[in-house]
């Protein structure tokens, strides 16, 4: 098994940790469960999803999924940088991470803004895959313009009463819980008056979930309808009406995940292997692949910087998530197009030994990379206005 080198001056503990992880994966993670994309195992067959769910729970029990969490919630109390190093290896080994919304979006917010009861109730279950989470933000009329959303959650005694519809919710077909962004102040408009609520999807009357099939052929997301669905007040995360600020943080965590760049490195390595196995590799192809490696490594260098900054100061530069997002989404698209060009008509049938994925699947997922988590255009606007101070 090839492994991913960091090119960093790791501490002895970090180096030992990564060796141990790779030995662990050699022993427990068979290549036939490798996935095409790090965080989409819920698109797979029921059987495959079940296997991954159990394997993710095992990873958590054995201390590999949440190394940066406090020990009282099952973590090892390590730094965000350590977590990133671990997640890079997991990505490189194509280990599917089922609960991306729970682990990488909700958990950081709960750790920062959640009540003791909320942390006790959910954090361990998130790690152990006892609660699979989805993220209910987008609406049919509110995509890029998220703060125009219309779903309401109106306070009625000990509950919020939710009405409206969410759409494109990844994981919802498998999830037990949703982190919902809704308007709690009916008089408000725009980013004010929104709140984050945790919704128990399977035990709340008035919640309907409709699967949506995507161009890959699989069900990859859902639309949900809420009709007078009652959510207990204690499921409010962070201050009421201030959910936008908290959810911005949620989205930023989505964006700085290291996973993508490391997975892309694996893609390039696999592509090199495929190309070498087929033919002599001419100069133009070498240059194209070399350029891809350079771009992936630049993106990784940037993620290392961001994780180091986060570990040392608890913050990162305001435009960092947008820069990362734009770089990675371009990479994703260009990489799969190069794979189609190099593998030609074999792209649908080529498989690495024993693997459970192919480049054609990656090609089909690739349009999402420009769109999900805020489109490339929106991130250009964010960098231009917030960082460079350009006029809107």
């Amino acid at each position: 098994m090839r492994s991913l080198t960091t090119g960093l001056a790791l501490t002895a503990q970090q180096a030992e940790m990564l060796d141990e992880l790779n030995r662990y994966l050699d022993e427990h993670f068979p290549p036939e469960h490798e996935g095409p994309s790090g965080s989409t195992p819920e698109w797979d067959s029921d059987e495959e999803y079940e296997w991954n769910r159990r394997f993710n729970a095992r990873l958590a029990r054995d201390g590999w999924l949440t190394v940066h969490w406090p020990e009282e919630y099952g973590g090892r109390g390590l730094t965000p940088m350590d977590n990133m190093l671990v997640r890079e290896q997991l990505s490189y080994r194509r280990v599917p991470i089922c609960n991306a919304n729970g682990l990488d979006m909700l958990a950081p917010i709960l750790l920062q803004l959640g009540t003791k009861e909320q942390k006790d109730a959910h954090l361990r279950k998130i790690a152990l895959m006892e609660e699979h989470w989805c993220q209910g933000f987008s609406e049919p009329e509110a995509g890029s313009d998220l703060t125009s959303l219309r779903t309401t959650a109106i306070r009625d005694g000990d509950h919020y009463v939710v009405n409206g519809s969410k759409i494109w919710t990844g994981h919802a077909m498998r999830a037990e819980w949703m982190i919902l962004l809704a308007r709690t102040d009916p008089e408000s408009r725009g980013s004010r008056g929104l709140s984050l609520l945790m919704v128990d999807l399977r035990n709340t009357p008035g919640v309907e979930i409709h699967p949506i099939r995507s161009m890959t052929g699989a069900v990859t997301f859902c639309q949900e309808f809420f009709t007078d669905a009652r959510v207990p007040v204690e499921n409010l995360v962070g201050p009421e009406h201030e959910g936008w600020r908290a959810s911005q943080r949620l989205l930023e965590h989505e964006r700085v995940r290291a996973a993508n760049s490391a997975l892309y490195r694996r893609d390039v390595d696999d592509l090199v292997e495929a190309v070498v196995a087929r033919d002599v590799v001419d100069r133009a192809t070498q240059a194209a692949l070399g350029h891809m490696i350079e771009r992936v490594e630049c993106a990784r260098a940037l993620t290392y910087d961001i994780a180091t900054e986060l570990s040392e100061t608890g913050r990162f530069a305001p435009h960092a998530p947008s820069v990362t997002k734009i770089l990675n989404s371009r990479l994703g698209g260009d990489l799969t197009r190069l794979a189609v060009d190099l593998l030609g008509l074999d792209v649908c049938s080529y498989r690495a030994d024993d693997a459970n994925w192919d480049f054609y699947q990656e090609f089909l997922f690739s349009p999402v990379s420009r769109l999900g988590g805020g489109s490339t255009e929106i991130h250009h606007d964010i960098i231009g206005t917030r960082y460079l101070g350009l006029e809107r």
Partner: protein, 393 residues
């Protein structure tokens, strides 16, 4: 829907009539719902359309010379039909029909002319078995079927439109002689094995073919290399035109949607960052479309004897490469403009995106075409292509 295409005017009445008739017919018979049914695996969906294309338009006779019972159309007519079929995401046998008609007609062989007449009279679906991954278009650089005393033997990993054909025209070699092996699938039993191959494009399934044993009918050709290179060049132009059509539909769809969908209180098409991407796709498409019809006109001139294959071949390659890039850009941008809706199965854009993954590769990827266009230029400049550039693949 905006009317696009700078060079949109067809040069002759026949071309315009063909385009209009096809548009009318496809509007009536082939909606996005049909394309979706086909994508869902319903193989009966295309039957009605296929029958009408065969009987009302006689697409199979389009490129057959009038003296052999056909319509006497040329490569431009094939491109017109391909563009319209491509724009409608409609399945057809145009590629196989056009290539077979040209091969049989241009062979100059009386027996093959008789075969072509029968193909037209009986409406026999025919296909030329040229390896779809090949970018050389050169009979001496592929592996034709070998014919010996023991029979024929050969393998083709991917062949376009062979699966539902009744007559296969297979490049073959007997000793030092090159020619054709005719396989009449209604009669051949053992010795011919056709099986579906995994592919991206549901509208044009690829098949693998194995020939082994005493089967088929050998016909020697007087100018085998010219005949096959021309035939594959024609196929490349047809594929280019079909991709031009598919790209046109993507551009029309995204322009329409961008004018309707609102975010931030405005139509998304009013955001320059998005509008310019749509426009860039259009600009690339205009140039590629012009090149495609230029190559088609060049091919038609060659068929009439007023142009040479040496000049037409690079044009066909450039058309194929440019049209591939145009479809790649238009389909990907279209999915993006639609947002998450563009990623759904319900929205038919993915058919164009997937078609690109296959059509851009058949008879050579854009990269492979460009290498050969450059080699052609090097030879014209007095250089030696093989020495100056190492050829990939």
């Amino acid at each position: 829907m905006p009317h696009i295409a700078l060079g949109g005017e067809d040069r002759t009445d026949e071309q315009r009539d063909l385009r209009m008739e096809l548009r009318r017919l496809l509007t009536r018979l082939w909606s996005d719902d049909h394309a979706r049914e086909l994508a869902d695996g319903d193989r009966t969906t295309g039957a009605k359309l296929a029958a009408v294309l065969e009987h009302d338009i006689a697409l199979g006779a389009l490129l057959v010379p009038e003296e052999l019972g056909g319509h006497g159309g040329g490569c431009v007519e094939a491109a017109v039909a391909a563009e319209e079929l491509g724009a409608a995401s409609a399945p057809s046998r145009l590629l196989g029909d056009a290539m077979s008609a040209h091969l049989l007609a241009t062979s100059g062989d009386a027996e093959l002319h008789r075969r072509l007449r029968r193909v037209v009279e009986d409406g026999v679906p025919a296909a030329v078995v040229w390896p779809a991954q090949d970018a050389t278009w050169d009979l001496h650089q592929i592996h034709p079927v070998e014919i010996t005393g023991a029979g024929a033997s050969g393998r083709f990993r991917y062949v376009a439109e062979a699966l539902d054909a009744a007559l296969l025209l297979v490049p073959a070699r007997r000793g030092a002689e090159f020619g054709l092996l005719l396989l009449d699938l209604s009669r051949e039993g053992s010795g011919v094995e056709l099986h579906p191959a995994k592919g991206a494009d549901v509208l044009r399934p690829l098949g693998g073919l194995t020939v082994a044993g005493p089967t088929g009918e050998w016909v020697g050709l007087a100018e085998p290399q010219r005949v096959f290179t021309e035939t594959v060049a024609l196929g490349a132009i047809v594929l280019a035109a079909e991709m031009i059509g598919a790209a046109r539909s993507c551009i029309e769809r995204m322009a329409t949607y961008a004018g309707q969908r609102e975010q931030f209180g405005r139509t998304i098409g009013s955001f320059q960052a998005l509008r310019h991407q749509i426009v860039d796709a259009l600009v690339a498409w205009e140039a590629a479309r012009a090149m495609t019809y230029r190559a088609a006109a060049g091919f038609a001139a060659m068929t009439r004897g007023t142009a040479r294959i040496d000049d037409v071949e690079p044009m066909a390659r450039m058309a194929k490469a440019a049209a591939s890039d145009a479809l790649g850009e238009a389909s990907e941008t279209c999915i993006h403009v639609y947002g998450a809706i563009g990623f759904t199965w319900e929205n038919p854009v993915h058919l164009a995106f997937k078609r690109w993954a296959a059509s851009a590769q058949i008879f050579g990827s854009p990269t492979e075409q460009r290498v050969r266009v450059c080699q052609h230029a090097i030879i014209n400049a007095g250089g030696r292509a093989g020495g100056a550039l190492r050829v990939a693949g």
